[in-house]
């Protein structure tokens, strides 16, 4: 009758590839060498795209841009586990996921260039528009998952968000809906340990984000987010579970935002160079290179070649983006409603 134990919850962390590039053979996902090389190429592409985007912003050729440096394993590894039938509800800092799913580079750049027209996601990709209002995409993903379940579509709905987003009511309400309706939904939290200047411990007192799933009655797991295999494995399991109707999963990818919050930010104001250096040494691309090297698949020259290829893709994307004519003023009125209101139509006429 006294204090009784009501429940016991264990929260786990998945690691596959260590700093030295050694993989746990039991946990290493079944991926061919070609697939692993593809992961590497995509991570490099993400890195090079990101560097170029930052440079373009500095040159005034695009607008404010949020770098993904350091999060390539978390983004590429997770998106690699998806198919084009799955639905993706991103925040604004998962360009690595977009690239992995084949999102056109010019269009990504066009978005950060502030061009409305870029927001039309190509048909064939079930990706939602970038979402700047932190966390607000998460309940929308829950709705898509309800719809998919209603339609009996064997797809997974995936939503990305950051550590900061977990503080918002939207995250909570969506997690709760996912639990109650046992939705085919995968929550991928890019815990890059910062929300602009707020460090993780200023964001939550919980020791991990993974344990937040306990509140909603479904599985949460932390993965080493700089370990592309761990991310891929956890996501693969979660999407398979979702597609099979076995319910939602929350995945915390513990990673690090190596660059500024955006090009308008100066992270030097609020965090130490040592911390950044600590994480730079844990660069997810380096780690995969060490693994590949152990397998005899990598050399500095191979990197050069892959990087050159990626750079060429990005170059072409930049050129294509910059060749676009500026939008006309009437574009303001495009796709506002299926049919403009009389007042809108009148306003359009005088533009």
């Amino acid at each position: 009758m006294p204090e009784v134990l009501l429940a016991d919850f264990q929260v786990k962390r998945l690691e596959v590839l260590n700093e030295k590039g050694e993989a746990d053979p039991e946990l290493l996902p079944e991926l061919s060498d070609a697939q692993i090389w593809r992961l590497y190429e995509l991570m490099l592409l993400a890195r090079i795209f990101d560097e170029r985007a930052v440079a373009l912003q500095r040159e005034g050729r695009i607008g404010t841009y949020p770098p993904i440096r350091g999060q390539e394993a978390a983004q590429v590894g997770s998106a690699f586990a998806l198919t084009k039938q799955d639905w993706l509800f991103p925040s604004f800092r998962e360009m690595g996921a977009h690239l992995t799913l084949g999102y056109p580079i010019p269009q990504l750049l066009q978005y950060w260039g502030g061009d409305e027209r870029s927001q039309k996601v190509p048909v064939g990709l079930n990706i939602f528009p970038f979402c700047v209002a932190v966390g607000s995409q998460i309940p929308q993903a829950a709705g898509a998952a309800l719809a998919a379940r209603y339609r009996r579509d064997p797809v997974a709905i995936v939503t990305y968000f950051g550590d900061g987003a977990t503080s918002k009511g939207d995250f909570h309400e969506a997690m709760n809906l996912a639990g109650v309706f046992n939705l085919p939904l995968v929550f991928i939290c890019q815990n890059n340990q910062w929300a602009i200047s707020i460090p993780l411990k200023g964001q939550t007192a919980s020791a991990s984000l993974a344990q937040k799933a306990v509140a909603y009655g479904f599985e949460g797991v932390q993965v080493d987010g700089n370990d592309v295999f761990a991310v891929y494995r956890a996501t693969g399991q979660a999407v398979a579970k979702a597609r099979s109707g076995a319910g939602p999963t929350f995945i915390e990818c513990l990673t690090y935002r190596m660059a500024d919050h955006t090009t308008a930010d100066d992270a030097g104001r609020y965090r130490s160079g040592e911390e950044v250096a600590f994480w730079a040494a844990r660069d997810p691309i380096l780690r995969l290179e060490r693994f590949l090297e152990r397998r005899g698949l990598w050399s500095p020259q191979k990197r050069e070649e892959a990087a050159a290829q990626a750079a060429a893709l990005v170059d072409a994307g930049v050129a294509e983006m910059e060749a676009l004519p500026p939008p006309a003023a009437t574009e303001l009125f495009d796709e506002i409603l299926a049919t403009l209101t009389p007042r809108q139509a009148g306003q359009r006429k005088v533009r």
Binding site: W87, P139, Q140, L337
Partner: protein
């Protein structure tokens, strides 16, 4: 033809559209087993099952967000928010997402959904149960706002809203739910969105109203040669009909139960002051609630515009 009250008319419209279109589904607090706190969705769970009528947890923002995702996926969700006063916490989803999904995706996705919610005062209920903040929503580009004034138009407007390709906020005047019965055809019919209805023709003053105020305006108009317009759609509102009437009458009174400042009456008055000022023979008067929070039951009748206040305003513009 059956005599239905507004609850029955709305229920019938929902049932018919759900039967016709399997993309339509309902979600919200207590909409299923309980049939809604006003019984508007009564019987629909039994008829259409738990997958079409979803009882949700208590989370207005989550409900709205989920409806957006459903709509984008290809369904036509009908989220119910239990009272208009509880949409405030869903405002971000409604304003920044539902209304903008088409534009934010340049047409790749759209958001055909009908947000239903009881609206307005006069039912002697607790705080936040009698809000009439329609103007907040009329300000949102991309969102339509509709208010029926009786059972017949309720059914036709709701069917039109359910077939609209964009999001519609459907405000159901709670005071009217069971106040009046009208002949409501069993078969489907649409009342076009964006068009006002001449509730009573007249030639010496135009009175614009909607929702539960219409009934009071019609009472107040007795004995006057007043033209009463029932706005029905608040956004986009039928400025053409208003201006045509004002051209004829030269006088305009606007009646709404919301507080005065920045209410929809302001937009109507401003539109007329911009587009038809030469036709005006008197100031444009607004008969509204005062600029205070909606009070509890004991003061609600002092808050809502009454027949006498409307009459006074009509007299004022006529004698101007």
């Amino acid at each position: 033809m059956a005599q239905l009250n507004m609850v029955q008319a709305i229920n019938q419209a929902l049932a018919q559209e759900m039967a016709r279109d399997d993309r339509v589904l309902l979600l919200g607090e207590d909409v299923g087993r309980d049939g809604g706190v006003f019984r508007v969705t009564e019987g629909l769970l039994e008829r259409f099952g738990r997958e079409r009528v979803l009882d949700t947890p208590l989370c207005e923002s989550g409900i709205m967000g989920a409806a957006i995702g459903m709509a984008a996926y290809g369904l036509r969700p009908v989220p119910e928010i239990q009272f208009l006063g509880f949409t405030y916490s869903a405002f971000e989803q409604l304003f920044a997402h539902a209304a903008r999904l088409r534009s934010r995706s340049r047409g790749r996705y759209s958001c055909p959904m009908v947000v239903r919610t009881p609206y307005g005062g006069g039912i002697k209920a607790p705080e936040l149960h009698e809000e009439s903040t329609e103007a907040l929503f009329c300000q949102v580009p991309g969102l339509k706002v509709v208010v029926p004034s009786g059972p017949y138009v309720a059914k036709g407007l709701l069917l039109a809203a359910l077939r609209d390709p964009d999001p519609v906020l459907f405000l159901e005047p709670t005071r009217l739910y069971r106040l009046l019965r009208e002949e409501v055809p069993e078969e489907e019919y649409l009342v076009e969105l964006g068009k006002a209805r001449v509730a009573r023709p007249g030639s010496s003053v135009t009175v614009v109203a909607w929702g539960s105020m219409l009934e009071r305006v019609l009472k107040a108009a007795e004995g006057y040669d007043a033209e009463v317009l029932d706005l029905l759609t608040l956004n986009p509102f039928d400025s053409e009909a208003i201006i045509a009437s004002v051209r004829k009458t030269g006088r305009l009174v606007i009646v709404h139960e919301a507080a005065k400042t920045c209410g929809l009456g302001a937009e109507i008055a401003a539109t007329v002051a911009e587009e038809a000022i030469l036709h005006l023979r008197a100031p444009i008067l607004r008969v509204t609630a005062p600029d205070v929070p909606v009070p509890l039951a004991k003061l609600i009748d002092h808050y809502l515009p009454g027949v006498q206040q409307i009459r006074t305003a009509i007299d004022d513009v006529l004698q101007y």
